[in-house]
């Protein structure tokens, strides 16, 4: 139903302008209905290839031809003004493994150890991957203490993005966490992680490690010295099964695992061996 043969450039331009003329004719008539409005005669080049007695069918025939030409002949629209480039940041993005762990924690999985991600990242001099910046900033809207830490981890691109996309509503920055709020930091390490491991083991033996105790146990795992995490994994694996404690056991196993992976993924040197 399109015009036959490739037209020359000037013929093409003429056709393009008559196409928009024809299209507005067709739209106007279609809106009012062919019962009420006569269909104007098509401009040159747009004579219907299929004649129809019914003006409504005639309109559809002609509209199909123009619609096809409009779609197939679409052009890019002139580019709007671009945004300013983001300021440079010398720090490299973290490894893919570390990025994936951060994405999972932002999704709500074992985010008890989320503060440690930022602490380790800062130590290693790496930043979160750029594609997670919006998620980090949006989470910060609800949690000023987190926002401070996240923005410092993101670097200059945080405020750049907030300015470039005012629709995100993340421009306002608190200079310090509100009074009384806990800073978003990893818990202070336990002095005696060995004792913590044995307490946890005991709790599974006497079945007091129920789901009610999980918040406390999560914090205990998050605060444990990393060198004891392997031992804890082993003990959790060996813990006797009981329906009252199984959910807690699965949760702590996952948390221990993700913490070990995170420490390995954000280790500053390559010497850190893989997590077994």
């Amino acid at each position: 139903m399109t015009a036959a043969g490739p037209p020359s450039v000037s013929a093409g331009q003429a056709l393009a302008s008559s196409a928009s003329h024809e299209w507005s004719n067709l739209v106007t008539t279609a809106v009012l209905g062919t019962d009420r409005k006569r269909l104007p005669i098509p401009p040159p080049g747009w004579e219907s290839l299929r004649s129809a007695d019914d003006p409504a069918v005639e309109l559809l025939n002609r509209a199909a031809a123009v619609a096809t030409a409009r779609r197939a002949g679409m052009q890019p629209v002139p580019a709007p003004l671009r945004i300013e480039s983001a300021p440079a940041d010398e720090r490299p993005e973290c490894s893919t493994a570390a990025a994936n762990l951060l994405a999972r924690m932002l999704g709500g999985l074992h985010d008890t150890v989320l503060p440690e991600w930022f602490a380790l990242g800062a130590m290693g001099g790496v930043r979160p991957p750029s594609y997670l910046i919006p998620a980090l900033l949006l989470r910060g809207r609800r949690n000023p203490a987190f926002d401070l830490v996240a923005r410092s981890a993101i670097g200059p691109r945080a405020s750049w993005l907030a300015d470039a996309m005012p629709e995100l509503g993340v421009r306002v920055v608190a200079k310090s966490p509100p009074a009384g709020a806990d800073p978003f930091l990893p818990p202070r390490p336990h002095a005696d992680s060995a004792a913590v491991v044995s307490v946890i083991v005991q709790m599974f033996l006497d079945r007091s490690a129920s789901w009610a105790a999980v918040a406390q146990l999560r914090l205990a795992v998050a605060a444990m010295d990393p060198s004891w995490l392997a031992a804890l994994s082993l003990e959790l694996n060996r813990a006797p099964f009981h329906s009252a404690t199984e959910r807690t056991r699965v949760e702590l196993t996952g948390l221990t695992q993700i913490r070990r992976e995170m420490i390995a993924a954000l280790a500053p040197s390559e010497s850190a061996g893989p997590v077994v």
Partner: protein, 474 residues
Amino acid sequence: MAVRPTHDQVLSLAPDKAAAKAAIPVSVPGAWSAAGCDDGAVWGQYIATSSEPYNVAIDLSDDAGGPAYRCNCPSRKIPCKHALGLLLLLANGGVAPARRLPFAAEWLQRRAASRADAADEPAIAAPVPTHDGDETADADGGALGGGARSPRDDLGVIDPARQKRQIERSERMRAGLQELDRWLADRIRVGLASAELGDPATWERLAARLVDAQCGSLANRVKRVATKVGQHARWHEDVLEEMALMHALAVGAQRTSALPGDLADGVHVATGLTVAKDDVLASVPSTARWIVAGESRTREDKITVQRTWLAAGPPHGPTTWAMLLAFGAFGAFGNEVATEHRIGSAFDADIHWYPGGINLRALLGRLHSEPAASASPPPVTTIADALRTAGWALAGEPWLERYPLCVAAAPAPLGNGRWALADDTGSIPIVGGFARTAEIVAVSGGAPITLVGEWSAEGVLPLTLFASGQAVPL
């Protein structure tokens, strides 16, 4: 009573050795309930395994063509082991004459009626596939034109019953297309401004009738157009465009014999005629190293349609794109279509194209290499070139709703929270309602980034970002 087959005659009907072997344990009398036979048929309920018995019936009345089978087990073999088992039971004298069970009576009656209708008696009565579940993928497969079902004529003979069903189906489709076209003309007659166009029921009724006419893909299209009514100040233009293209499709589908072969195939697929997978897989493949460039999902009724875009080509184009479709039920847990190919991976493989005006929809044939993580994105073009390529595709199939592109472009704000992708050749808006523009802006830092997306009349839907050696699905 019909002539009793011998044990060996029954086993010779088995589609393969495994089916023959599996049929023997099925043929014990204890596995059957209400088994009976008469002059022309044998039937029974197989009760040995599942809680729901399988209803099995075999039509023996056709002397020339051999038996025809019905069983509601999920097996795709014809005859299945239950049908063979029942025949073996008959051969062993384990079935007594009886009154037909209701399901058997109904099925046999239908067969007799269709035989009476048929002008010539089929020379080879190949099995009639009436296994339950056989037709399920059908309407949804049409969601994008052609959920393929493999043909049952394993022996290469044309199944007259299948042919007849196809004729019936195309008659139904023709009636549906005529109705669609009448409906479109009626709307134009009273005008797009009339109130009934804004009433979802107007569109729903049409969509329902198209579903009845087995034009599933058009029905879904009608529903999509309905959502455009009143969407913005110039919605009349969008709706007229869509109505005109549906009109072209409806008219074209009624006179495909007058169209060039490829175009006719494209019209068939777009209106919902299914193409058998095996026919597609029998075509000459395009072998290349394919990058899994992106994945998009849409919901059509209760079906999730997943498009996986594969790209191949030299670094500076031209790119060959292939679209793999997958369907899943949309259930309580959301999306049930699994991501089959990891985005950003690449493999050497055969691709078989579906027939049509352009090569786009395809099936994956043989893999020549294991999928491997690929650091490189598909070949990148300018926005102008990407639109030109999409334009050529649209010239080939004007009803095309989406076409892939891979561009190096920077996000640029249009105001009102809308964004566009821009490069030196111009820009294309990002579709409204796309929720992850912030990720694109954040990764770009204001500079051009490599991005795979889908063109549509509303703009581009970003699918995948390629940045720092990583593919980020959006």
